[in-house]
Symmetry: C2
Subunit: 714 residues, 2 copies
């Protein structure tokens, strides 16, 4: 059966291509639809007006007449469609009208006939389609109603093929999802029938990569089924590009030697201050890297007190990483020697490759690397840090605060922002890696490694494009159940994409596709640079929540309102406080304070009120997370609040009770010290903002859901 | 004519109210529609099936039959509507079906007959309506298509009445605006006809405050006109509440004495540390207030070295402000004395009024104040600061950095966050005012004052509700052409509104109404607390742009992409760089750098490249604003960039060329000092974020547009 349908469609597509066409006619579309079980109404192709009358008479009820022409793609625009035609005389009139309209629209259009189609029942109009995304390949799309998809862009995407459950989930992913469930007394549509249309279209494009686009527009969804009024199929002119891929074990083997090297060679090491080859050497030495550091320089004997070699091939023993600090034009020949030496990793700091238009030079480097099995990081990067190895293989300033966050960036400027932010906030990192042009090593390789790296608990990535969206999704799906992955996708907007285009030469895909597919992969998308950095800093600090119930405890009623707004914005569930718990909170707060959620303990309260209510929040198993709003008063100064909160949280942690606690501190400048104190002790706290702490908690929840730790999918 | 229509509707409404009804029947609705020229289709009320057949025969084409019953509001839900009925037998069948459906839906419904209505042409379905908003009063609404308004909430609001231009602007304010302009070859709807429907509905509700709600649903908009298929009118059960209002001059007179007092009395002044009356006295004295400070205390002779009085009536000479630092229960009697003394302003710090449920106590205070003509700030506030007068009339910490920003908050906690943020960032303020329960003085009073205050260049307000939305809009409209007004509206979301409700007892209006009406008033809405604070800090620093052309100059290509995203998000226009300007930029940057916009000068460039391109950006009159992206390198360290940028900006300023310049600094921690240096010199600069500097510029643009300084309305 499956083989049958593939054979049928293969034969059809071959014949279409043999005729040099890339778009299919409606009858050809019907053949494909029938082969894949895509429900379409009964129809026949009338070659003349008498055939049209005869076919219309066979249909039960009114019909639609549509032009069939390989030259007319938008039939309605061309005046090529007449709906609701009944009886012979109406059919004749409509037939002639269509021919006249189409001639007026395009005098040269080849008219193959008029399609006579059973009029579909009234129902909800939706669109089901598939496109070929430059990043993700075959992608299936679903949206509501003709012009609304175009105007309101209410469309959702998934990687093709999808299974039935994924297809069903698409029905809930559009903003207007409620309409499909039936509003104002209207019955719901047949969700399974609709999902089947999506699933079958996704299988069709997965089976035939040469199909560039499929469009069922509209699909009429009723309580009894879903019928495509029209199927449009476009073929690709070029075969899809293939990229060399590596298996998981291959990736881990080379990545292990890159991130935990025992010996590093610096190609272009230098004694001259200000040179990149000097900065890299200094950072390796000053950073305290305990492995071997081998300077390579054509003329020097000694660099920074280490024996220098004329060529990497002269270096004794194995070399795990060769860091290149030489101009672009010398990279190829040096890489040949690195390959001969059997070095598994080349870190190409120099710029002057694809980003400046030197594509041939970059292609040459890739060819050499592939021939020797050398994996390449860069070119056009600042290098990388592997802090737990005390490795600073970079020309930037060293960084030594070891911790749980791995960060990557496609841009050097963003790399420097990562470094400054981390140093300023004392964020512990496991690695900072520049990716630059991504001639070879890509986010998926790094993700595969960081997923296994025991030092890494959270991964944050700045990217402008993905060379292979499917490989990234695969790596993300494998990693997310273990640790959160935060992505800042630059070039979200048309303006940004244009800037990314001029900057990296990468063809940025439509952001809506990125957004849906990254979410499906369980990735936490950061809306901006600062959010990416703050999420990376906060996520490893917060324990994983065990349920959805968030409670706000606040000394400032005003903060409580803003924290509630932020909770809603971040998709958090403010717990409906049961009566007994409400009474328990009330016992600690003044009579005019408000229990409920937020629990408003009021502003003039002593430390004990904060402590009692926080204790209750941690103690009661029905509460899963706490959001604290602190108001600076003389009765409970900032550091008193910080100390009591940290102490209580630590005490419960020792008892095995760990819940995420975040805090917003409103007060004079002493709250800044209090926030640093709290952050260092596992409470994510920020001054002068009610949004940031809640956004961090929201990110943790999004991850916990995606990782399947909260019940309920991504 | 106008009088006629008012008389007609008055008579009708009186008769409806006489019958004890609050909803009008369809024929009654038709009378109102006809009186106000609201286009509705021809129709008649059939009392029996034979009348229905006769009326249908008179109509040109098919008809709609609809139930007429004062008990059925949602006719479709009740099965009370049949569309597209033709000929006698179909009319009879439909008539009986409707009666049967309605009986099944509500056996007790009174059926007055069946309305026989001409079937409207096919067209775009929109909704025009008017509601009574608790904050803004009569508000007219416009949205697209039946269920889509309900599901996608794509609705826009204006204060009623609107003129023709305002009504037209509503057509462009919905997300789906494009549909009305005609998509995919469809002709545009008759915009003026649609705007007329909106304008007339708005006049109807403005003329009759007792009309709570009008609903034209749907209105069928076609290229030839706009017809309401249905008009639904609901009357209010309660007459709208009246609030005492003050004229502009009255407000300015009392506000001037509040904000620039010559003498202040402290009711409840105390020598005892930790008491609010002691803190207030200390802050007044330590703050350096040069006017008279009169402690009032029933028993003390001397407080902090000043002669104390038993009652404010004993104080010699005029008193401008009485600050209350006594428990709530003593406020009323002390206020009587303040009134007798003729003090124009009472600042009520104590809590224990409406916010704790003590409404009667607050009402009593208001009554006393109104009787004596005393204006009341608070109760339940931290007090206020008027920095240019060295006045700290508050129990919080003193603040003395004089500057151009006036900030107000409804919540004490937010007030403390304002204070801490201002101190931490060195933001100069003209005033910080607590509003608390707003028993009397409200944001509109403060806005009226700050609009005139020469020390204030920017006003930022945190609010949870507005007691009188129309007065606020009026004050905002008068102020915005002179200086920007930033509003943080807490309780945006359902969760937030619930928290605000429990906190202030205020009925929070629908946020969509706030959003539209505040924007129409030219107010810059801050999405969160931190944004409000940052906008307040940045807006006075930035000069007003003279046009829309924004140019990004960046050392980091990666920052350029993110800055472009942020520019789009903030509604900024990235200039299309003309060829000659492109060539001029290219002359300064390496050949592999990208001109265009962003201008990517590339990362390794010396200070001169930054300087040359910034100079060009300031010099060329076609460029109106600059966004700088700095990348920390050894060649151009952070402070070198900061100094050159500040120097060039200052040089142009002296030459009379002022353009907003904002900067995102990516680098190691030295960029923090560089940002402080730049901010103090008129360049709005932030480290580790590409979003904040662009958001600040976006806020400045929003204001400039609203103030009419850029051509183009709000």
């Amino acid at each position: 059966m499956t083989q049958d349908r593939v054979r049928t469609v293969r034969a059809l597509l071959d014949s279409v291509r043999a005729k040099g066409r890339t778009s299919l006619t409606a009858p050809e579309g019907k053949v494909i639809a029938d082969a894949y079980g895509i429900a379409v109404p009964g129809e026949e192709l009338a070659r003349d007006v008498d055939q049209a009358v005869a076919y219309a008479a066979r249909c039960d009820g009114p019909v639609v007449l549509k032009i069939v022409s390989p030259d007319i793609l938008h039939k309605t625009e061309a005046g090529g469609v007449v709906v609701g035609v009944r009886g012979a005389s109406e059919v004749r009139a409509a037939f002639y009208e269509i021919v006249k309209n189409v001639r007026a629209y395009d005098a040269d259009a080849r008219i193959e006939g008029i399609q006579v189609q059973q009029l579909l029942p009234r129902g909800t109009e939706v669109i089901v389609g598939a496109v070929t995304d430059p990043t993700f390949g075959k992608v299936v799309a679903f949206g509501l109603g003709g012009v609304l998809v175009e105007v309101l862009k209410d469309v959702t995407f998934r990687l093709a093929p999808v299974d039935g459950d994924e297809a069903l989930s698409m029905l809930d992913s559009i903003r207007a999802a409620e309409i499909l469930r039936g509003v104002r007394g209207a019955p719901p549509v047949d969700r399974w029938a609709l999902a089947e249309q999506i699933r079958r279209v996704s299988e069709l494009v997965a089976d035939f990569p040469e199909i560039a686009e499929v469009d069922l527009n509209p699909v009429i969804a009723t309580p009894q089924g879903a019928f495509a009024a029209d199927i449009r199929v476009l073929l690709a002119t070029d075969p899809p590009r293939q990229r060399r891929t590596y298996g998981r074990e291959e990736i881990l083997t080379s990545m292990r030697r890159l991130m935990r090297p025992r010996s590093v060679a610096v190609i272009g090491a230098s004694n001259e201050q200000g040179k990149i080859g000097n900065s890299v050497m200094r950072n390796l030495i000053d950073g305290g890297f305990p492995g071997k550091i081998h300077p390579v320089h054509p003329r020097a004997d000694d660099i920074l007190g280490r024996k220098a070699y004329k060529s990497v091939t002269d270096v004794p023993g194995e070399v795990d990483v060769a860091v290149f600090a030489i101009p672009a034009k010398f990279v190829a020949s040096a890489l040949e020697e690195v390959g001969k030496k059997g070095v598994p990793n080349a870190v190409l700091i120099p710029s002057g490759f694809a980003e400046t238009g030197e594509h041939a030079l970059q292609d040459e480097v890739v060819e050499i690397a592939e021939r020797h099995g050398v994996r390449v990081l860069g070119p056009n990067i600042y290098g990388y840090y592997s802090t737990w190895q005390d490795l600073c293989a970079t020309f930037c300033t060293p960084y030594d605060v070891k911790g749980p966050v791995a960060l990557t960036s496609q841009s050097g400027g963003i790399g420097m922002a990562i470094l400054g932010f981390a140093r300023s906030t004392g964020t512990g990192v496991s690695a900072i890696v520049g990716l630059g042009n991504k001639a070879d090593l890509d986010e998926d390789d790094l993700l595969t490694w960081f997923g296994e790296d025991p030092h890494t608990e959270c991964i944050a990535m700045h990217l402008e494009d993905l060379k292979d969206g499917r490989a990234f999704v695969e790596a993300a799906r494998a990693t997310v159940p273990k640790k959160p992955v935060v992505v800042l996708k630059a070039g979200r907007t048309a303006a940004g994409a244009r800037a990314a285009g001029s900057h990296t030469g990468a063809l940025a895909g439509d952001d809506a596709v990125y957004d849906d597919i990254l979410r499906q992969a369980g990735v936490i998308r950061a809306p901006g640079l600062n959010e990416m950095l703050e999420y990376a800093r906060a996520l490893p600090v917060l324990p994983t929540p065990k349920g959805d119930n968030v409670v706000i405890i606040t000394g400032a009623g005003g903060s409580g309102v803003l924290l509630s707004d932020a909770a809603y914005d971040n998709g958090l569930s403010l717990m409906e406080i049961p009566d007994d718990l409400d009474a328990a909170f009330r016992a600690f707060i003044p009579p005019f304070g408000a229990a409920g959620n937020p629990v408003d303990i009021t502003g003039g309260e002593p430390p004990s009120t904060y402590e009692n209510t926080i204790r209750l929040g941690l103690e009661d198993p029905r509460i899963h997370s706490l959001v604290l709003g602190y108001w600076h008063t003389v009765v409970t100064p900032p550091m008193v609040f910080a100390e009591l909160t940290a102490r209580v949280v630590a005490e419960f942690r020792e008892r095995g009770i760990e819940k995420p606690v975040v805090a917003s501190l409103a007060g004079d400048v002493e709250v800044e010290e209090a926030c640093r104190y709290l952050f260092a002790r596992g409470v994510v706290a920020y001054p002068y903002t009610t949004e940031k702490p809640v956004a961090a908690l929201g990110a943790k929840y999004r991850w916990a859901r995606a990782a399947g730790l909260l019940g309920g999918g991504p």
